[in-house]
């Protein structure tokens, strides 16, 4: 997440001071990514150094007001126009955990998957519920953030189903030949049904 561009985008609306920026950012993103005030001020300093914002005096209560410069406007427009690059392979703790679980003897991989499925499903239920409430209050920015969380969690659950299906196939192969590395716990009886789910 680019704090720099987010602050510039907010300043494009109107000049603001640090605490206001933090408050606005959290309001608009549903406090999903809490910002600390130190980060806000360090970022504002750098933006000023780079000519993207300027100090505009204070509001009479000692808050320094910042406003955006022409260069800052150009920068933020460029940011909106540019697609977000995928961080090259995002570090996904769950993927790492499962990859390791698969290769280490004595780990109940099916159990790991089910525990994650349950936790992810609960998150999905909570996001969905929040989304229903947000839809009533017509809070567009928060709705978009929630949708993104919902689709990401859905993808994770589908991926878990896929892993389970893959494991079942793998275990079947293992039965007729090579040593079933860490997969001995998989109930081969259920393979066909589990695969069915994965191929739907």
């Amino acid at each position: 997440m680019s704090i720099r561009h987010s602050l510039l985008a907010l300043l494009q609306g109107e000049p603001r001071y640090g605490y206001q920026l933090r408050g606005e950012f959290e309001d608009r993103t549903g406090a999903t990514w809490p910002l600390n005030i130190g980060q806000v001020y360090t970022t504002l300093d750098r933006l000023e150094r780079d000519g993207m914002v300027q100090k505009d005096g204070d509001d009479g209560e000692g808050h320094v007001i910042y406003s955006i410069t022409e260069a800052g406007r150009a920068e933020v427009m460029g940011w909106f126009a540019k697609p977000v690059a995928q961080a090259n392979p995002p570090r996904n703790e769950l993927a790492i955990k499962l990859a390791l679980a698969l290769t280490i003897d004595g780990v109940d991989v099916a159990g790991v998957i089910q525990a994650q499925r349950k936790a992810s499903m609960r998150s999905l239920q909570d996001y969905t519920r929040s989304r229903r409430e947000a839809a009533r209050s017509d809070d567009a920015a928060w709705l978009l953030v929630l949708d993104s969380l919902i689709f990401a969690t859905e993808a994770e659950l589908r991926w878990l189903d896929h892993c389970e299906g893959w494991m079942a196939t793998h275990a079947k192969g293992a039965k007729s030949g090579a040593d079933s590395k860490g997969l001995t716990h998989t109930n081969t009886e259920t393979s066909v049904e589990t695969m069915g789910a994965a191929t739907r």
Binding site: K118, S120, M121, Q125, D126, Y127, L149, E154, E193, A197
Partner: protein
């Protein structure tokens, strides 16, 4: 009696006998209260549809007992069962099960009329239900003049028409696009909020997310359950890595 609309007590269903017998459900316990929305997930063949048909009195358990509004279904005659189904149970079939020679509105009104509701009233209720699922303009179309997704919505309208207390839906969003599917979930959720017990079978996690509880089936057994936490602070931690 508590406010449980649906109760399964040690329910089993075995198809066939001997060496070829298939145990579709094994000793399943499940209770769904008025106002509660439960989703059932599990791999293909895990027993989801079997659980639903038994809950709706469309099939009989080979072991255990199913109660709908406190009435044990095992002891009912075929006529009593049919009556209970029309009065209390709204069922969305995986393959719709609509009458091709009737219009959308007639399909939806049919169970109401069979239950003795005057035709005009049944028809009005049918139109209301079709409006809820987003196809009021198709009331007078016959089934073979409708797309798969439109037929699916007729099937959903037929299940929610009137004030039925138990709504059982088997993959009701399979033929629908994402936004229309969400609209259907909204309708089912609304029925639960109005006091119905709703059981939804689905492969789509995003749709199960609408439920208060998600039950996971595997090999005919309930192996796990996820309940919403209703705690806003989880939004910040959630399952994010």
């Amino acid at each position: 009696m508590s406010n449980e609309i649906l109760q399964l007590e040690g329910v089993s269903r075995t198809y066939g006998e001997g060496a070829t017998a298939v145990a579709a459900l094994r000793n399943v316990n499940l209770a769904v209260s008025a106002g509660e929305f439960v989703a059932v997930m599990g791999p293909s063949g895990s027993g989801k549809s079997s659980l639903l048909t038994l809950s709706g009195g469309l099939d009989k358990a080979t072991g255990g007992e199913v109660y709908v509004e406190g009435t044990p279904l095992g002891g009912l005659s075929i006529n009593e069962l049919a009556r209970l189904r029309r009065r209390a149970v709204g069922y969305v079939f995986q393959d719709f099960n609509l009458v091709p020679t009737l219009t959308a509105a007639e399909n939806v009104a049919l169970p109401r009329e069979l239950d003795g509701i005057p035709a005009r009233k049944a028809r009005r209720q049918a139109k209301d239900a079709l409006r809820l699922v987003g196809i009021p303009e198709l009331a007078d179309r016959f089934m073979d003049q409708m797309s798969g997704g439109q037929q699916q919505r007729v099937a959903i309208a037929r299940a929610i028409v009137g004030e039925r207390r138990l709504i059982l839906a088997d993959e009701p969003t399979g033929a629908l696009d994402s936004t229309t599917g969400d609209g259907i979930l909204e309708v089912l959720r609304g029925r639960a909020e109005a006091g119905a017990a709703v059981v939804l079978v689905t492969h789509e996690a995003r749709h199960a997310g609408w439920a208060d509880r998600v039950v996971f089936l595997k090999d005919g057994r309930i192996v796990d359950e996820a309940a919403a936490q209703h705690d806003p602070s989880v939004l910040l931690t959630g399952s994010a890595h």
